[in-house]
């Protein structure tokens, strides 16, 4: 109780209240504009938050992170375009409902499911806090190294169908971290005698380039789309009543969101697909999924919004970000000399509880804002793509230039913008680069610290948590290799023309065989008396 009172004290300031309001409303607005997304907004705002108090800066960023998915449901449901990438599944059931004239019902269901998911994850976080406070100090250098390694492996494995290129891009991220002066002997690594490379690549500059500037380039090279908004009927409150009729779907989906959010490198996509699949299996009307099923909508939106709260667990308890957005938030902690990890739970528990309470208040604020502003937010989807690209490019300048007023930083960000643009064009993942950069740094420091105390290789895993994480790594690697082996198919590298020719030859051969057999049958019949 004392702890909650001191956490309320941390939050009871006008600047924190303003940050909550700006973060939640800003997040919804950003989420409801297709093509922007929380990563772009957080990357742009990061340098501005460095001059703020840690709790104020983090509240703004958390606000954007937690509320953007609420806003992202609006275009997903009304115009079949997800506002943020993780709202893609919402379009499956949300848009068919809009086509049936039930857009408001769908929006209301999405808001209520998101609210439930958000609150559920914060409650889990609060309930887990005592356990985390007890377990976190058991994490020494080698446990944190192994957890970061597990995170890297999971990031790669989570990109199914693109695992090899995700591994290469993670390696690229680790390489970017190593450029510059090495921290122990101060020798130069991959600087090519260039003084501007001696300081290495700044994470914020790379993130701004990869997420914000690349998105600006992407939008600037697109064509504008004509957007037609359908008329909707009904009350925005009806979803809350309807959610009560599907408690099992909501609870299972929120649990998937929390569990997947806690595991580094997994995130919203896996959470929502697992919850969607399980909701369909549990449903009495599985055929309605993908055609405007309320259960499908609840499953995807609940799982999405349960992730941000849970993703704070590895970040706060171990200092390990699970995905790109929490990786960006990690830099806010470092700038203010607040080191997330086991020490945070021991020494600054009121700060941690204040963050939880901020997340709780945020969800209430967002729903209240959405209930009064939905009809205006819809019009944000009409902003033309290329105009939006210009706006993001201008804001990116503020983000990069305000770090050190350095044109070199801006040029580096522009180069990473081009790399991000190519990755977006090819639909290859950007997140492994950022996580490779962050987790690579953590792994280098922690491995060096832990190797000083290790004599035999097996000493590395002689503590119970280290052993458990090591087993988890083996299981993940083993299951991935097993799946790759069982699903192995030799590739068909023939051209379309050759494939067509082969198919035609097969058809001719079958026809020939049929004709021959029919003819031989006829001949036999004629021979018979």
């Amino acid at each position: 109780m004392e702890l909650i009172a001191s956490a309320v004290d941390v939050l009871a300031r006008w600047d924190v209240a303003l940050a909550l309001l700006v973060g939640s409303i800003g997040g919804v607005v950003i989420g409801s504009i297709p093509g922007v997304g929380p990563a772009v907004a957080i990357a742009i705002l990061l340098p501005a938050t460095f001059s703020m108090d840690p709790i104020v800066g983090l509240t703004v960023l958390l606000g954007i992170y937690g509320s953007s998915m609420y806003g992202g449901a609006i275009p997903a449901i009304l115009i079949n375009t997800p506002g943020t990438a993780v709202n893609a599944l919402t379009t499956y059931d949300g848009f068919p409902m809009t086509l049936r004239g039930e857009g408001r019902r769908a929006l209301s269901l999405a808001y209520s499911a998101s609210f439930f998911g958000g609150i559920f994850s914060v409650v889990c976080l609060i309930l887990l806090s005592p356990v985390l406070a007890r377990v976190a100090p058991m994490f020494g250098s080698r446990e944190i190294f192994l957890a970061a390694l597990l995170g890297i492996i999971l990031v790669i494995v989570a990109h199914r169908g693109q695992m090899l290129v995700a591994a290469a891009l993670t390696g690229f991220g680790i390489l970017l971290h190593t450029v510059g002066l090495e921290p122990v002997k101060y020798t130069r690594r991959y600087t090519f005698e260039q003084s501007w490379l001696a300081g290495g690549f700044d994470l914020i500059v790379v993130v701004l380039g990869l997420f914000a500037i690349s998105q600006a380039f992407y939008l600037l090279t697109l064509d504008d789309e004509k957007i037609r908004i359908s008329k909707t009927r009904g009350s925005l409150f009806q979803g809350f009543r309807e959610l009560g009729r599907h408690p099992r779907v909501a609870a299972v989906s929120a649990s998937f969101g929390v569990v997947m959010g806690m595991i580094p490198g997994v995130g919203e996509f896996t959470a929502q697909f697992m919850s969607y699949t399980s909701a369909r299996k549990l449903s009495k009307t599985p055929d309605a999924f993908g055609h405007g099923s309320s259960e499908g909508l609840i499953a995807s939106e609940t799982a999405n919004n349960a992730v941000p709260g849970a993703a704070m667990i590895p970040l706060l308890a171990l200092g390990i970000p699970g995905e790109a957005l929490t990786a960006m938030m990690l830099s806010v902690f470092y700038v203010h000399n607040v080191v997330p990890g086991p020490g945070l739970f021991q020494n600054q528990m009121d700060f941690v509880v204040a963050l939880y309470l901020a997340l709780l208040v945020l969800n209430v604020l967002v729903v209240a804002f959405l209930l009064v502003s939905t009809k205006w937010l819809v019009y944000l989807t009409k902003i033309p793509n290329r105009f939006l690209g210009m706006c993001i490019l201008l804001l990116s300048f503020v983000g990069v230039y305000s770090i050190r007023n350095s044109p070199v930083d801006c040029a580096i960000a522009a180069v990473f913008g081009l790399i991000g643009f190519i990755l977006k064009r090819l639909n290859l993942p950007i997140v492994p680069i950022v996580l490779g950069m962050v987790l690579g740094g953590i792994m280098e420091v922690k491995l060096r610290a832990s190797m000083n105390r290790v004599k035999e290789p097996l000493d590395f895993i002689d503590r119970p948590i280290a052993f458990l994480i090591f087993c988890a790594i083996l299981i993940v690697l083993g299951s991935t290799l097993w799946r790759a082996r069982t699903q192995w198919r030799p590739l068909d590298r023939r051209t379309v023309g050759k494939k067509g020719a082969a198919a035609f030859a097969r058809r001719l051969a079958t026809r020939h065989a049929r004709i021959v057999s029919e003819r031989s049958k006829t001949q036999r019949r004629t021979r018979l008396p």
Binding site: A48, A168, F172, N427
Partner: protein
Amino acid sequence: MRDDDDIHAKTRGSGQIVFVAGGLAMTLLLLSQITGQTIWDDQAKNFAAQPRFWPLVALLAMVLGFALHLWRMRHRAFRPEDWGEARRWIEPAEYVVWFMGYVFLVPLIGFLPMSLVFATGLTWRLGYRNRRMLWTAALFAFATVVFFKALLGVKIPGSALYEMLPEPFRSSFILYF
């Protein structure tokens, strides 16, 4: 809807070979430079303390990742559509020039005037030439400057042009715009 279809990301086929082969070539080039660009410390206590260890791990991950991806690719020969896609990658070069021009001119002309010029100029260039869009762009630029520099106090220095302003305006322009 099949779950597998949704979970698997759909990578664009055309242009992929250019990216992967280019990435592999660049990685091999960097790997060939490792002895010159990193040092091997004979007094290091263990492999983790070697300055060369992590760059080597990163480069090996890149080589393996790119090489295996290339080996598993359906089309390993360069096709005309690959070059067509690669040509699209240089389309944003014009916007890089706009961006870097903005970067170099802000310290000379000032954050507010340059933002107004950049926003309206680029909006005009993009083909939005009606008065409504140009005013919206100008308003957006003004709001951005006020929000970030005057309200949040982000560090963007005043310009050489502001120094020429009369005294009552000079300090407020340097501070807020």
